[in-house]
Symmetry: C2
Subunit: 228 residues, 2 copies
DNA sequence: TCCTCGTCGATACACTGTATTGAACGATAC
DNA sequence: GTATCGTTCAATACAGTGTATCGACGAGGA
């Protein structure tokens, strides 16, 4: 056995930061907010809490579980407005979900990827279901309406965040994006086999993202309203 | 850096096993089909082609690029039926996209995550746009209609695949799923604060996935048809 | 024949998630 | 007070990842 001098002084337990799932999830969300999901590793989350990676396994069984907890935590930021008009309530839910995704872009990467059954997600679900049944009294009809709306919202958010990242990655503005992919696009379009896309590129105008989202949302809600 | 689509693949002339982007992408897709995206690593793809991982970097600049190529390749399996009725054409596109995602489940993980501008994706885009303009002559209206429809299709596919995986992961049937998450769900629902979800669990019936998809699709198409 | 140059493979690096293991601690039993 | 026990934590280890670097090799040009 080596000498005492070689051996480090025992680390006093009292100096340890108390840990909790809430603290771990908060640290992970902070990391993801600023660096994306790639910035979330058990080592980094641990380091943010002055702990080693293995310490976290007392609170979380696997990294997937941590991601599930993060997703559920964001659901707690989404409150569904209570309104007698189902359209207003569901529209409000959609807008707040989008807003949450803009605050936590990584949310879009996880959304819909696996069923969300955490307590906060269930609360959101309950509230949207309550709004839906005011229009569709049969519970199965309400479920169908909601899953359709949710599919749209998830998809729209995902592509919006995707485009946001694409333009940002190529240099913070759309001009840079065009110079990056421009030559390729021009060459492909030059063969004349994409007349409609050509027309879109030359004659189309761009809506801002919020308008795009709202337009699509209106279309889906109209489809729902038209149901028997 | 310029895009993959712009850069020609190298014409390496050695007596080694001939390699090509097509071969690399095919190998990667085969791996992803049987083992999911986690099974796609440059080492494994290389091994499938009797090559080391570094060899691939002559054909592909980064792994992300390989994923982009895989996504575009799947788009080549999606052909849009040419029909004078825009609803039939777009419905056909949606069904084939879903079918492709069921053949390549990993497709759902990548779909919508970043703009798809590969040649095959552009071809699909052109065809859907062509169908859309027959109903919405103004190109901007066609774009809005399409992006709404695409958001729904992407979102619906993603949740369908997500649920498919969830039920499969917990043991191949829904009964097993209920015994896994059942106790937790029962406990949460027991507090009486989720009356509508309770009603859904007790009184609701399950549609099969194809019906769920078709129902939502019909709703969105109805919303589109109702536009001025 | 020699030289250059592009391509290839081995090695290396900084990371990842997580299994294992052993040590340090608080509480409990005598 | 001392001994023991079970829990909690940190260190180490392992297999795997994407990719940078670099030496070697083989073909094309002089």
């Amino acid at each position: 056995m080596e000498s005492v001098w070689e051996r480090p002084e025992p680390a006093g337990r009292t100096a340890l930061t108390p840990l909790s799932r809430a603290a771990i999830v908060a640290a992970a969300i902070a990391l993801a907010d600023s660096g994306g999901l790639d910035a979330v590793s058990l080592r980094k989350v641990g380091a943010a809490l002055d702990a080693g990676p293995m310490r976290l396994y007392g609170y979380v069984a696997t990294k997937e579980e941590l991601l599930d907890l993060m997703v559920d935590e964001v659901h707690s930021e989404i409150d569904v407005p209570a309104d007698t008009d189902w359209r207003i309530a569901l529209h409000g839910w959609a807008d707040r979900t989008r807003a949450a995704a803009l605050r936590h872009e990584w949310f879009a990467d996880l959304l819909g990827g696996r069923p969300a059954i955490g307590p906060h997600a269930l609360a959101v679900n309950e509230a949207t279901l309550a709004a839906a049944v005011t229009r569709f009294p049969a519970i199965d009809d309400a479920r169908r309406a909601l899953s359709t709306l949710r599919a749209y919202v998830n998809g729209a958010i995902r592509t919006e965040i995707g485009e946001l990242r694409a333009t940002r990655a190529t240099g913070l503005d759309k001009l840079r994006w065009q110079t990056t992919h421009g030559p390729y696009l021009m060459r492909v379009l030059a063969d004349g086999r994409h007349p409609h896309i050509e027309r879109l590129v030359s004659d189309g105008t761009d809506d801002d993202p919020a308008t795009v989202f709202a337009t699509g949302l209106g279309i889906v809600l109209t489809g729902l309203a038209a149901l028997p």
